[in-house]
């Protein structure tokens, strides 16, 4: 899965939900150690890796994995 959410850092502000063009995120019922309801990437397969959520996240809780290297390796084969 390319979309990673660091649940320890997430505060559930929902800014990622507002910037995501593919509506990947949803606020979950899960609560982290600070008592914040965290975000969850429920439609991670829809992600187009625009990284708007990663750039906009105030808590640096989101991370979109770059699989450029792996895809390059695949194409080389």
């Amino acid at each position: 899965m390319a979309v990673h959410v660091n649940k320890r850092l997430c505060k559930g502000c929902g800014l990622c939900m507002t910037v995501c063009p593919k509506n990947v995120y949803e606020l979950s019922d899960e609560v982290n150690q600070k008592g914040f309801a965290v975000i969850s990437a429920v439609r991670a397969s829809d992600c187009i890796k625009c990284k708007r959520c990663e750039i906009n996240c105030p808590d640096m809780a989101l991370w979109i994995e770059d699989d450029e290297t792996s895809s390059k390796e695949e194409s080389a084969r």
């Binding site: 320890r8 505060k11 929902g14 507002t18 105030p58 808590d59 640096m60």
Partner: protein
């Protein structure tokens, strides 16, 4: 849960942050976090070494930013950030100094330091996060609160006109002045990058959301999304503003680069230029 100082696998910018201090204390949806990541992306793009830089914060929400970064940090004297910066620059002129100040820190308590640092053209990057109120103390009216806005101390709306920080910086003599907003991270990173690279007093004002206080009091909503939209609606790019009438620009913030010039930076030489040079020549 065990506390670990090892970097977590995750956002690549986390390697510049003090892991044991995270999560940071900013409220959910606060713009300060976005300023941190924009600053770190600018640092990464310029390949600067954070370890050789000094970050200064006074008192306030924004002033907490350098505490979370892997850099030398001064924190805690309200409004006197630029006085500290002047001292550091005179002792070690090659050190890169970045000041993070809120609107109260920059314009209210530290207003005098600000105009004089601009006048002297102190070689410091001054990042002002304008969230329109004194957020840390509970959302009181500040010098940058827009006219008519309801805050904790102005329940019937603020009757004072706000400061225009960028116009003031330009007239005071700052050599790089720009205004941007948190919902435009690319522009924010680009302006911070230019400011860090600039020799002289560089000011970047960032319009930021404070959903906890300004959002609740002035807009009646604690949602960061509503406040981000409000800020977006109240900004006009400089190029568009040139074509607009004065009435249309009422209550709007112009964003863009206001000035980018060069002039000699402050080295403390105004005190002893001639005698010192002579002494060095004889030795």
């Amino acid at each position: 849960m065990s506390v670990s100082t090892m970097p977590e696998k995750g956002n690549p910018l986390l390697k510049y942050m003090r892991q044991d201090k995270l999560p940071h204390f900013f409220c959910p949806g606060c713009g300060c976090g976005q300023v941190v990541s924009a600053f770190l992306r600018a640092v990464e793009a310029l390949k600067l070494d954070l370890g050789t830089m000094v970050g200064i914060g006074g008192v306030g929400c924004t002033a907490r930013i350098p505490v979370y970064l892997h850099m030398d940090c001064l924190h805690g004297v309200h409004g006197r950030t630029l006085a500290w910066a002047t001292g550091i620059k005179l002792h070690k002129p090659d050190t890169k100094v970045v000041v993070f100040a809120g609107d109260g820190d920059a314009m209210s308590i530290g207003g005098n330091h600000f105009i004089h640092a601009a006048r002297r053209n102190l070689d410091v990057t001054f990042i002002v996060v304008n969230n329109f109120n004194f957020a840390m103390t509970g959302g009181q009216v500040a010098p940058m609160t827009p006219g008519g806005a309801v805050t904790m101390t102005t329940p019937y709306g603020s009757s004072e006109p706000p400061f225009d920080l960028c116009a003031m910086a330009v007239t005071s003599g700052a050599t790089y002045v720009a205004r941007t907003l948190t919902s435009n991270p690319a522009q924010m990173t680009s302006y911070i990058k230019t400011a860090l690279d600039h020799k002289g007093f560089s000011v970047v004002e960032i319009l930021s959301q404070c959903p906890t206080h300004f959002g609740r009091y002035a807009l009646g909503s604690g949602s960061p999304k509503n406040l981000v939209t409000w800020i977006k609606d109240h900004t006009v790019p400089l190029t568009a503003a040139d074509k607009m009438k004065a009435e249309e620009l009422e209550g709007k913030y112009r964003t863009g680069e206001f000035i980018k010039t060069e002039r000699p930076v402050f080295m403390g030489s105004t005190v002893c230029s001639a005698p010192c040079a002579e002494k060095e020549g004889k030795a």
